[in-house]
Amino acid sequence: MRNRELTRPEKSQATFEPRIVAFFCNWCTYLAADLAGTSRMKYSPNVRVIRVMCSGRVDPQFVLDAFAHGADGVFIGGCHPGDCHYQEGNYKTLRRFHLLKRVLQQMGIEDERCRLEWISAAEADRVRSTINDMVEKVRALGPLDLIPTEDKVSAEEVAV
């Protein structure tokens, strides 16, 4: 059987802490996040950063896999257009992102749950403000709760 991790505890809106997976480009947003650290800026602890060399490495599968495994939001940070360390990787990210967003809309996943931002190495404050903003928006949306799918559904439905 295709494995699904179903150990996620029940989420209630009251105690809900959004879990956001972030993919940061090694050359800009990851550095900006480092700078936010060295600048001792404070932001919500709800984001888990995964480093990639370029936002162009972010396979849409990564975004979906994160959602499928319990992420309430996904945040991709790349270099500003024209600033890509690899010349044009971020444009590819942008194009994929636009198409992916349409699929996500069709799949009922709210817009605010998936975000692409251009944040240069110097823009530590944008890391802070974007994360805080995104956490608040996702918090307002509530848990994504894609996980309790087939097994749970089947079990209950079979019991009817």
Binding site: L31, R40, R48, M53, R57, D59, A66
Partner: protein
């Protein structure tokens, strides 16, 4: 080139035995993250055989701890939870190497910059750390043994910008026997420093110390000097850059011109008519000119905008006549493009001064006797437009002079930064003006910033000389007189914050101590060289403290004020440092590159060609006889874009394989 992936990769690998090392970083991490709890948690994760915490993991004993576990506990995968991998990944990779296991069997977890320094809630920070550590433990188990790539270094160096920083870097490298290309866009090297008369705090004559260096550049056997030239294209990678240089036509054959300047004398223009850029428009020059007497190279330039021959084609060409047999003048010259190959690049493109007219309330451009500090540098310069006389526009000497600091600095309306050099050069100008004119000199300052060897002492000296110091940012310069003593003067209005009242001080001359700004074309330049800028527009160094002349692009270094406001000693020091970095690379003869390249599994590839147009480096090609795509690992820079786009999952990126990233994603999200 050795293989990136070790032979036997993937086959019969031993089961992972993970060691987890959680760093306290003193209290930097331990103050916010419950390090013990994380360590205990990690110990229970599948595959983990050792889990330890330590005060400073990067210290020698910390490193020894890991090394020992590798040999004693057969740890074969290492997770270090400490600071940013950009800081210490190389350190810990070396530990693994020393201990005899592949250095890429390491995964770092950034729990300082990304956790302890940015969160306040200890519990949340600890939970986040556990998530990150769990993900790393899962990920590292999938790591493959990798080898760094070695590429040879071309020993030639390109230095961009011929100010004091560029000059110093070029000479340092050339003296070490390296071939240097020094490219400067103006017709002469020398930069801002060539415009100064004296330098603080020692009051050395700028020309006396700069000119010999300029001459050395001009005559150095290892320096190819291209002035009036610009870089238009940069390709390649560390050690192997291909650069295209555009050489603008100066309508003079540089190799034929001997700098006798007879053409200038002979020009049909008897007097100069064009504002002289070098003197900031304070004097006029002819269409054929030498920027300044000590210019290097000593080659004249013809300005086609004003030369009659270019405008009407009907000039008597007395200049050509004067040049005679040398025949150095060539009106048909066109721009040329040169291709050079270099291994390293030093950017020393300098700064520009703040445009004082952006502060309209200081009257620059409105009142003739409001000058910028750079203009006054030229006035004071003995080789300047007034022969060193500090005089007003009408030729008279000022009896009183107000020097306004921080024009275009420390101001959220213009530039927020401190320009660092203005306090000192204002003191210098105050001294020189007082010395030359005997005028009453007033300095209007916000704070007096004189950190530097001999700088505070210089300030002391100026205080003693009886220069007035009014602490307060000037609100206005106007010619509105409300007191008889103010008639015909420029009145400076400022609060004397030390006296705690507003003062109106009438002066004859106002000097605006303009701040330093990034060059106007900094965005184009940084894109050209693939480096970053701070939000302000200064070139971004790799690390503000530990790598201040390196950039995030290997082999590209920055020196001087293009990195941030800097005075001459700092610029020279940084230029020396940049030259040393380049030399270190050249002497190593090769550079090791991260093995993060992409590779295509030949048997899996369907030859759909989707990846080919995506590579900006043309590293992917279609192999016709196999009908499959292939990646040239030398050209691949490891962005991973093709990996993400391969529709059949047949391309992978070393160290960033799909499985590794999926494991990390699922690792951070899995519930404990």
């Amino acid at each position: 080139m050795p293989e990136i992936r070790s032979p036997g990769d993937g086959a019969n690998r031993e089961p992972p035995r993970v060691g987890v090392y959680v760093c306290h970083c003193g209290t930097n991490i331990a103050g916010t993250v419950d390090v013990k709890a994380v360590t205990e948690y990690a110990a229970k994760l599948p595959g983990v055989v050792v889990s330890r915490d330590y005060k400073y993991m990067c210290s020698d004993p910390g490193q020894a701890l890991i090394q020992q576990d590798i040999s004693e506990h057969n740890v074969n995968r290492v997770v270090v939870a400490s600071c940013s991998p950009l800081l210490h990944e190389p350190t810990f990779r070396r530990v693994l190497s020393r201990a005899g296991i592949n250095s890429f069997f390491l995964q770092m977890v950034n729990i300082r910059e990304h956790v302890s320094w940015v969160h306040l809630d200890k519990q949340a920070a600890t939970e986040k750390t556990k998530d990150l550590v769990r993900a790393a433990v899962r990920r590292v188990s999938l790591h493959k043994p990798l080898q760094k790539r070695r590429v040879p270094i071309n020993p030639n160096v390109l230095v961009v910008g011929g100010g004091i920083a560029g000059i110093h870097a070029a000479l340092t490298l050339a003296d070490a026997g390296k071939q240097v290309y020094l490219v400067e866009r103006e017709p002469t090297i020398g930069g801002h420093m060539a415009k100064f008369d004296k330098t603080f705090p020692t009051l050395d004559c700028a020309a006396c110390i700069l000119t010999p260096k300029m001459t050395s550049v001009g005559s150095h056997p290892h320096i190819t000097l291209w002035t009036y030239s610009e870089i238009v294209k940069v390709e390649g990678y560390v050690g192997n850059y291909k650069v295209q240089v555009k050489r603008k036509p100066r309508y003079i054959h540089e190799d034929l011109c001997i700098g006798c300047q007879e053409c200038i004398t002979a020009c049909v223009y008897k007097e100069g008519k064009t504002p002289d850029q070098f003197n900031l428009g304070l004097s006029k020059r002819k269409p054929v000119y030498l920027p300044f007497p000590q210019a290097v190279p000593q080659k004249v330039v013809i300005d086609p905008e004003t030369c009659i021959q270019f405008k009407s084609g009907k000039c008597k060409k007395t200049c050509v006549e004067a040049c005679g047999e040398r025949q150095a003048i060539d009106f048909t010259q066109t721009e040329k493009f040169e291709e050079i190959e270099v291994g390293t690049i030093i950017l020393a493109t300098g700064f520009k001064t703040f445009d004082a007219s952006r502060h309209p309330y200081y009257g620059y451009g409105r009142y003739p006797n409001v000058y910028t500090s750079l203009e006054v540098e030229r006035l004071i310069n003995a080789a300047g437009p007034t022969g060193g006389e500090v005089v007003l526009r009408d030729g008279t000497r000022p009896k009183s002079v107000g020097i306004i600091h921080c024009v275009g600095s420390r101001d959220a309306n213009t530039n927020r930064w401190c320009s660092k050099v203005c306090c000192m050069y204002s003191l210098k100008l105050a001294h020189l003006i007082k010395e030359r004119t005997g005028a009453e000199v007033y300095n209007f300052y916000i704070d007096m910033r004189t950190p530097g060897k001999g700088y505070e002492e210089f300030y002391d000296r100026l205080l003693d000389e009886g220069v007035h110091f009014v602490r307060g940012r000037v609100a206005e310069v106007s010619d509105w007189a409300v007191h008889p003593s103010e008639e015909g003067k420029l009145v400076i209005r400022a609060e004397d914050t030390l006296a705690a009242f507003v003062r109106r001080i009438p002066v004859d001359m106002v000097v605006l101590s303009v701040g330093l700004e990034p060059q106007a074309d900094v965005q184009e330049v940084r894109r050209l060289f693939n480096i970053s800028c701070s939000t302000e527009g200064w070139f971004l160094e790799r690390h503000p403290k530990l790598a201040p002349v390196s950039t995030f692009t290997e082999g590209v270094y920055i020196a001087g004020a293009c990195q941030g406001p800097k005075d001459i000693p700092d610029s020279v020091a940084q230029a020396g440092a940049a030259a040393a970095e380049a030399l270190a690379l050249i002497d190593a003869q090769f550079v090791e590159l991260e093995p993060y390249t992409a590779f295509i599994s030949e048997e899996e590839c369907s030859g759909c060609k989707s990846c080919i147009p995506l590579c900006p480096y043309q590293a992917i090609s279609f192999v016709e006889d196999k009908k499959k795509a292939a990646i040239n690992e030398v050209l691949c820079k490891g962005c991973g874009t093709c990996v993400a786009a391969c529709p059949s999952g047949s391309i992978q990126q070393n160290f960033f394989e799909d499985d590794e990233i999926f494991e990390e994603i699922e690792g951070v999200l899995a519930y404990a």
